[in-house]
């Protein structure tokens, strides 16, 4: 273990989390994980394993489709289990949903402003927006374009840039690579890496693209049918034969 829990207090701690949809379909059967401050943690797993449900339970976005039926979520030491999403955002946890949810009728600029919705320090918003343009110059080029007309990659960039506008302490990224061309996947990951280093943002990353995710992450968890089955540093996971076979495409590394 590269970063031990004794040194850094966990910014996010999830304890035996259980969740189900419509009180019938149990998806999570006791998920345990923690993310330390400044860390990047990858949550890996196949379709339907419960990756997204875990993120949604943490960020309060499960409300409406399912519910947390057991366990706890602690953010910065505070028990935030079952808090609605807007309270989590004001506590510094921002969730970037899978599938590039932008406001299609708003311009790029307005979308970015939306990200700063919870902030009170208006005067610093402009500087932060310039910071976002530093990472995503393309957003600046398309500032006045309606977000609905952006390409898939640009929308993903906008979703991440918008999340940054909230000045998050911890960012939950759900499948940032989904549906993107390989070139763009690399670009998005590079930028996420850059953001991580420069902004000191803690990351919890959900990915199917395990290879990419493990390049970026310090540690990783493997989730299968609602429980964590494997846990270790990124290096350990990369070498793990089980993960290699199923998620990293066989023998050739």
């Amino acid at each position: 273990m590269s970063r031990s829990t004794e040194q850094n207090r966990p910014l996010l701690q999830v304890q035996s989390l259980e969740a189900s949809y419509q009180n019938v379909i149990r998806v999570l059967h006791g998920v345990d994980l923690h993310v330390d401050e400044g860390e990047c943690v990858a949550l890996l797993g196949a379709n339907g394993a419960g990756k997204t449900t875990t993120l949604k339970s943490i960020s309060g976005m499960l409300e409406g489709e399912g519910s947390i039926t057991g366990g706890n979520v602690f953010l910065d030491g505070e028990d935030t289990t079952g808090y609605p999403a807007h309270l989590m955002v004001s506590r510094g946890l921002v969730h970037v949903l899978e599938g590039r949810f932008v406001f299609p009728d708003l311009s790029v600029y307005e979308n970015l402003l939306m990200g700063a919705y919870t902030r009170k320090d208006r005067d610093k918003i402009e500087t932060d927006m310039e910071g976002v343009f530093g990472y995503f110059p393309r957003l600046k080029e398309r500032l006045k374009v309606q977000a609905g007309y952006l390409s898939g990659g640009e929308q993903q960039m906008l979703a991440i840039g918008r999340a940054l506008m909230a000045r998050p302490k911890i960012l939950l990224l759900d499948e940032p690579s989904m549906g993107l061309a390989p070139v763009l996947v690399r670009e998005v990951f590079n930028i996420v890496n850059q953001i991580r280093k420069e902004e000191n943002v803690t990351l919890l990353l959900v990915e199917q693209n395990a290879r990419m995710a493990l390049k970026l992450a310090d540690r990783g968890y493997l989730i299968e049918t609602g429980t964590i089955v494997l846990h270790g540093t990124a290096e350990e996971l990369r070498e793990d034969p089980r993960l290699q076979q199923v998620y990293l495409g066989g023998i050739h590394n």
Partner: protein, 351 residues
């Protein structure tokens, strides 16, 4: 001026109320023409103008609620009725001054709107429409039953409006009062739209999920929309009562509520121009149809039933050919003019 031209984008505090010079001058010119012109018009045209202005005010509320926040209501007229009856009650039964009564009526309607909004918080789409349908039916039933408030199932006369001893005998004077409230309502509406609250309403309409992710309180925003939208309804309803000098229960029926919804769809959802243009349309088109009927058939009873059919047809045509309403057509025209008339000025600004 120079500074804002240099900037790439306006910051949240700096978004202008009206974007282009054409709009700014245009709005001022329209208000000026209305103020002066209305004093020279005959009673019939003043009455039409007053109705349009009141409907514009009411439509701003509905446009905020349904156009911007996406909470579609077919009970707006019923809430106008709440405002009309409570204002009448405040003035006639309680002896309050008119201006205070108008504002109080707005607040009462906002509270009633909130009460009906509460159970609707978890509803959206068709289900919300049904809930507002229930509100319309319940409120209308209430108007017919609560005689302590409405005096008769048909409504109650309210006489001529008067403020501090000044009687609005001349309908052109009353129009000025209505215009003042509507302009104020318009300014508030534009301000709301450029505020974080306005943005969060549209966010909740388009992407409720993301809106929550941005840290917006879904329920609070919906409730604010309910309260504000119905404040407009109450105020407009109250003004409507003194315009006709009679608060008629029938003026607040389901048909009128649907008409209000048609108004904002034809006018343009979610914009001030939409509310005003829609109001002009909804008041003038039946008037023209009646006139045409008079000329052609000298029998209004033939054309009257056709009104609804023609309305329906127009709505369908608008949905097909101009789904963003008259406001969109207006904007196209404005851009055309703007490019020609203000060409030189914009060049100056840029340099």
């Amino acid at each position: 001026m120079k500074q804002s031209a240099e900037k790439h984008h306006p910051m949240p505090n700096g978004l202008p109320l009206l974007e282009t010079q054409f709009e700014r001058y245009g709005a001022a010119a329209i208000i000026l023409v209305l103020v002066v012109g209305s004093q020279f018009l005959s009673g019939y045209y003043v009455s039409l103008l007053t109705t349009i202005t009141i409907f514009s005010l009411a439509a701003m509320g509905l446009n905020l609620l349904s156009g911007n926040a996406g909470l579609i209501s077919i009970a707006h007229a019923a809430f106008m009725g709440v405002g009309a009856f409570t204002a009448a009650w405040f003035v006639i039964d309680m002896g309050l001054p008119l201006l205070l009564a108008l504002l109080l009526a707005g607040f009462v309607t906002a509270v009633v709107g909130l009460l009906f909004g509460l159970p609707s918080l978890r509803l959206s789409g068709v289900y919300l429409i049904l809930a507002t349908f229930a509100a319309q039916v319940i409120l209308y039933w209430f108007f017919e039953q609560a005689l302590w408030l409405t005096k008769s199932p048909d409504g109650r006369p309210v006489g001529i409006a008067s403020i501090a001893g000044f009687h609005f005998d001349d309908s052109a004077h009353y129009f000025l009062l209505v215009l003042a409230f509507t302009v104020a309502g318009g300014v508030v509406y534009l301000n709301l739209l450029r505020s974080g609250l306005g943005r969060s309403m549209e966010a909740i309409r388009d992407r409720p999920v993301v809106a929550q992710l941005m840290g917006m309180n879904l329920q609070k925003t919906k409730l604010v929309a309910f309260a504000t939208g119905h404040f407009y309804a109450g105020l407009a309803g109250a003004l409507y009562g003194w315009h006709l000098q009679f608060v008629a229960t029938e003026a607040f029926n389901l048909m009128r509520s649907i008409e209000m919804l048609v108004l904002i769809i034809i006018g343009g959802l979610g914009s001030l121009a939409g509310a005003v243009l829609g109001a002009i349309f909804i008041v003038l088109v039946p008037e023209f149809l009646d006139m045409a009927g008079n000329r052609l058939l000298d029998d209004v009873s033939v054309i009257a039933p056709l009104r609804l059919g023609i309305f329906g047809l127009l709505v369908v045509l608008f949905l097909l050919y101009e789904p963003r309403g008259l406001a969109r057509s207006w904007r196209k025209t404005v851009h055309l003019f703007n490019n020609q008339i203000f060409k030189n000025q914009t060049k100056q600004n840029r340099s």
